[in-house]
Symmetry: C2
Subunit: 276 residues, 2 copies
């Protein structure tokens, strides 16, 4: 079975040109099929501020009103996505940028709309059902067959976290979720590694010491780490998403620094989350 | 031979939601392979103004400084492109948005850079060589094989007029040129009709009377119309581009109103430009 790496990068990489360039070189050099999912970094917030559009964040999630949706569509699907693709092309990696609307690749629904996830699931994902998130999208379906076809043409895919509802509405979608839903949809066709990069070297025993990476977590050790409050707050939804991805056929989930990409995938760095 | 329609729309459609919706319905219903190339409309200028970025236009061409390049990348490749794709999806047309960087589909070079078009060609296209156009791109190569592969997967392609130089630099490119270069690159594989839409019903005998459409122009009648100054100024580069496309294997070039799309393609409306 061919391997596929689905790698999510966030603001700490996108906002740092030096780190980004190093990461893209590593990504370009990666063997096997690959998909990059990017968040937005500070640029969307900065543009919104310049335009006088007030930004509201609740628990780290942006409230997407109509004007904010325009801003994130411009910054994520336009500025960031196309620059990432052009930079990968310059590194000899034939990349292709996509939003969820392109090729109907990711269908979603407006959060709170009929067909929304049940209360329990939303709670697990850290979503407060009493909040109106505006044009925020929860994923319904990833068109894995279409994506597999592009991967087989030797294209590296670069996804902006913008989806659509099939009725003409674009939706702002959590980039972690986009990455896991893509990984899940392709889990039957490829041996998928899902990589979440963030500012630390992995899940840490001691949050202040980057040398205390926990190399492997399974459901048993996760329960223990959670009980001991070594894993807490923002890391809990990430872990829940990771286990859900494993349940859905993803081979492994890895958490660590984007700069360590090769070591993360070879298991020499970061935290690898597995079923057993 | 399968047919392919390459259709360019400009600001007069993009800036008018009612006309745009009608046009997209016609485009979605169109049989055969199809590619939409869009310009930017007023949105880029409006965003630049809000951000305090001064816009300079020379002979209808935007001077693209670094900040303006960011604006057009956001507006063309992000906001407009993704909304067009989402609206086509809602109409049952499986569209996919692209810039020239995506899949290395359109390679260009910065105007004035080594390898630029010779003076005569640039003059013919209305480009003044004494002007620094900034990050404006002249097209070198369209990856026709890649585009043909996507078309054969029954995707309608939607192109933003943003290209790349293969070295990591995005470039703002004239949408008329993007349309003709795509049409030319696919002229051997498909029976291509290249459609330029604008605010009038076609090339007019009397510029003030929309009922005086010239139905058919060939090189002989073109020379005559030009000598009589019925065709002048901005229409001349369009006509030169049209004849160059025909020389390169495009079957016909049609000029008319976007709202008349079906009639344009069936030859019942607009001006059709042919070799003989």
């Amino acid at each position: 079975m061919e391997t596929l790496a689905v790698i999510k990068i966030g603001g700490n990489i996108i906002d740092d040109p030096g780190k980004l360039d190093l990461f893209l070189s590593e990504f370009a050099a990666l063997e096997g099929r690959k998909i990059l999912v990017h968040g937005g970094g500070k640029m969307a917030t900065q543009l919104a501020e310049k335009l006088g559009i007030r930004q509201t964040m609740i628990d780290g999630r942006r409230i997407t009103d109509e004007e904010t949706l325009k801003v994130v569509t411009m910054v994520y699907a336009g500025l960031i996505n196309k620059n990432l693709v052009a930079q990968l092309q310059a590194k000899g990696c034939n990349a292709m940028g996509l939003s969820g609307a392109d090729g109907n690749s990711i269908l979603a629904h407006k959060r709170g709309a009929p067909g929304s996830a049940p209360h329990e699931e939303r709670q697990a994902a850290g979503i407060d059902r009493t909040v109106d998130y505006g044009f925020a999208g929860d994923v319904d379906r990833v068109n894995g067959k279409f994506l597999a076809g592009l991967l087989e043409q030797d294209k590296a895919l670069v996804f902006a976290p913008i989806t659509h509802d099939g009725k003409g509405q674009l939706l702002n979608t959590n980039a972690d979720t986009v990455a896991s839903e893509i990984a899940k949809a392709l889990g039957a066709a490829f041996g998928v590694s899902l990589v979440y990069t963030f500012e630390k070297s992995g899940v840490l025993m001691n949050a202040d010491d980057d040398a205390t990476v926990i190399h492997r977590i399974n459901p048993g050790t996760y329960k223990e780490l959670r009980d001991r409050q070594i894993i807490f707050s923002g890391m809990i939804p990430k872990m829940e998403t990771a286990f859900a991805a494993l349940d859905a056929g993803v081979r492994k989930v890895i958490i660590g620094k984007a700069e360590d990409l090769h070591e993360l995938l070879s298991g020499h760095s970061g935290t690898t989350i597995v079923r057993h």
